[in-house]
Amino acid sequence: MKNIYMPIPVRVKSIRSESDDRTLRTFDLEFVHEDDAFDYMPGQFCQLSIPGVGEGPFGIASSPTEKGFLRFTVNRVGVLTTALHYLREGDEIGIRGPLGNYYPVDEFRGKNVVIVSGGFALTTLRSLTVYLRDPANRGDFGDITLIYGARRPGLMIYRDELEVWEKEDDIAVYLTIDQAVEGWDKMVGFVPTVTKEISPSSKDAWVMLCGPPIMIKYTLPTLAELGFPPERIYTSLERRMKCGIGKCGRCNIGSKYICLDGPVFSFAEIEKIPEEI
């Protein structure tokens, strides 16, 4: 019998600070025993576990096409996330996963993809972007558009990588900050406004939309105006979680468990759920 609560040992391979306010850190983890390595898809999450401190769910920010490490970006908010921030390279922690479903890549194969994100919710959408742009996959998808906003440049995660992507011609990247600051020559304005300015075509296109609730709330009407039906707009939902596998009863909205049936849902599915997201 397999013990689904038993964390698998992983080692911290490298650590990077991801924001200038020191609330975000990115960890690359490697399996202590290579044969523990698992396959996963963009959008899935894992439970990261520090023995004696606790465990919690974190979206996988690396892409399955990137071998040899698993990436997570952690926002420091409480006990576990603070302990994670204190980790050093070489430390061992535990991991359970991959958990949950993933972005519906099979559904939008051959189509255009618009990725809209804000704040540190970019994590699993970075995974998706890298996955779609992998030479082995790129030909299977149409145009890729990425709209990403942060409050200010210092809170923009994966910035070096985003600036590399800006120069590539197989992806259109739009970066925005809330208010103009000196030295910023890209877009200015909230994500919903910028999305309207850019007005990505809804023809044969799917949207992956992840960010703070307020951003989602105001972006949805714009997307509707552009002609995206709710069946083609996906998001990743969050709830407090414990088990991550549909047992502890904590993360339901309506009859769905976010950890098991999600975290990725289309707005067509969400509209059918009675509880507010």
Partner: protein
């Protein structure tokens, strides 16, 4: 399958034979509380009441359980390693409760290790209820005082003996191996049947619940909920006493490099259950929390399990300090939806 007869004065011997291969759990009374516990050698179960106050789910799913241990050598699982478990004297509603919890803990995708280990090779011997209580309503929700769901053997108490009716092949095999167990005669079986019919007939006719789910779904945002939940204190007596409520928390404790990971029964009735880092709580009001409990049992579980997640044991009815009665709620929901013309 063969049916058997157990004289009550041979119960001790019967349980001792079971104890040779099983850890035998049965109802006991301790400090004025009735619950299930492993019988000590020579101890007889307390059988002069119907349901225990504490539900028997803790036999397979302890209220607190250390699941992992951490020390210098790493992480170890601390699962149950005792004998297979036999439950004697559980009531039919509670036996069905095991099945409902099991559908959650062992689903298509994931098997809950700690539950599954305790359930492995386990035996459930239930005793039917000759005189259901006034708070019992198993017959509303697809059960009955002699329902066999979840039982390996169903016993009928005739006063001086138990007529044992194996339900599963495993139950049949174990009964066949018990020494000195008499075969039940036609007459015994008739006697048991008469008691079963009488018990069911003694329960008031249940209302039709076909439209309950659609009524609740239609009423989700209706002020109806404010009325039916207004008295609720959020104490969670209902969920802790419920044989089908399964929510849990996982917590770590540690001191000087050694630690444990514990799983503990939790409840959707407490605000912290869903409170998030940002301070946001998707279930802010007690209304939304009690609504979650009722929606889960009478709507969501119909979708996920194909039947209600309530077995009608009535424990929440008798344990609620402000007398909230789930049956009144059910009747009220159906009537409200009908009056408002909203049910599907």
């Amino acid at each position: 399958m063969n049916k058997y007869k157990l004289q009550k004065d041979k119960l001790q011997n019967f349980l001792e034979q079971l104890a040779e291969r099983f850890a035998v759990y049965a109802p006991v009374e301790k400090n004025g509380i009735t619950s299930f516990a492993e019988l000590e050698p020579g101890q007889l179960p307390a059988l002069d009441f119907l349901r225990t106050q504490k539900p028997p789910k803790d036999i397979f799913y302890p209220q607190t359980e250390v699941i992992l241990k951490f020390d210098e050598d790493g992480t170890k699982s601390t699962e149950y390693t005792g004998k297979p478990i036999a439950v004697f004297g559980v009531r039919p509603c509670d036996a069905k409760g095991f099945v409902i919890v099991e559908r959650v803990f062992v689903d298509k995708k994931y098997e809950d290790f700690y539950w599954a280990i305790r359930r492995k090779d386990s035996l459930v011997i239930s005793i039917g209820c000759n005189e259901p209580l006034r708070s019992c309503f198993c017959n509303w929700v697809g059960g009955g005082p002699f329902d066999t769901t979840g039982s390996d053997v169903l016993a009928t108490d005739t006063g001086t003996e138990y007529i044992l009716q194996p339900v599963s092949e495993f139950g049949e095999r174990v009964m066949a191996e018990i020494e000195k167990l008499e075969k039940a005669t036609e007459k015994d079986i008739d006697k048991a049947k008469a008691l079963q019919t009488k018990a069911l007939a003694s329960m008031p006719e249940p209302p039709a619940l076909d439209s309950l789910k659609s009524s609740l779904d239609a009423l989700f945002d209706d002020p109806f909920w404010d009325e039916v939940t207004a008295k609720c204190l959020g104490c969670a007596a209902c969920t802790f006493s419920c044989p089908t409520c399964y929510c849990f928390d996982i917590q770590d404790e540690s001191r000087r490099g050694k630690g444990v990971r514990i799983r503990i029964w939790d409840t959707c009735q407490f605000p912290l259950f869903t409170k998030e880092g940002s301070g946001h709580n998707p279930r802010k009001s007690q209304m939304s929390r009690l609504r979650q409990r009722y929606m889960h049992k009478f709507s969501y579980m119909v979708e996920t399990q194909g039947e209600f997640g309530c077995v009608g044991c009535g424990r929440c009815v008798s344990s609620c300090p402000v007398n909230i009665d789930v049956r009144e709620f059910i009747v009220e929901a159906i009537a409200t939806a009908r009056d408002k013309g909203v049910e599907a």
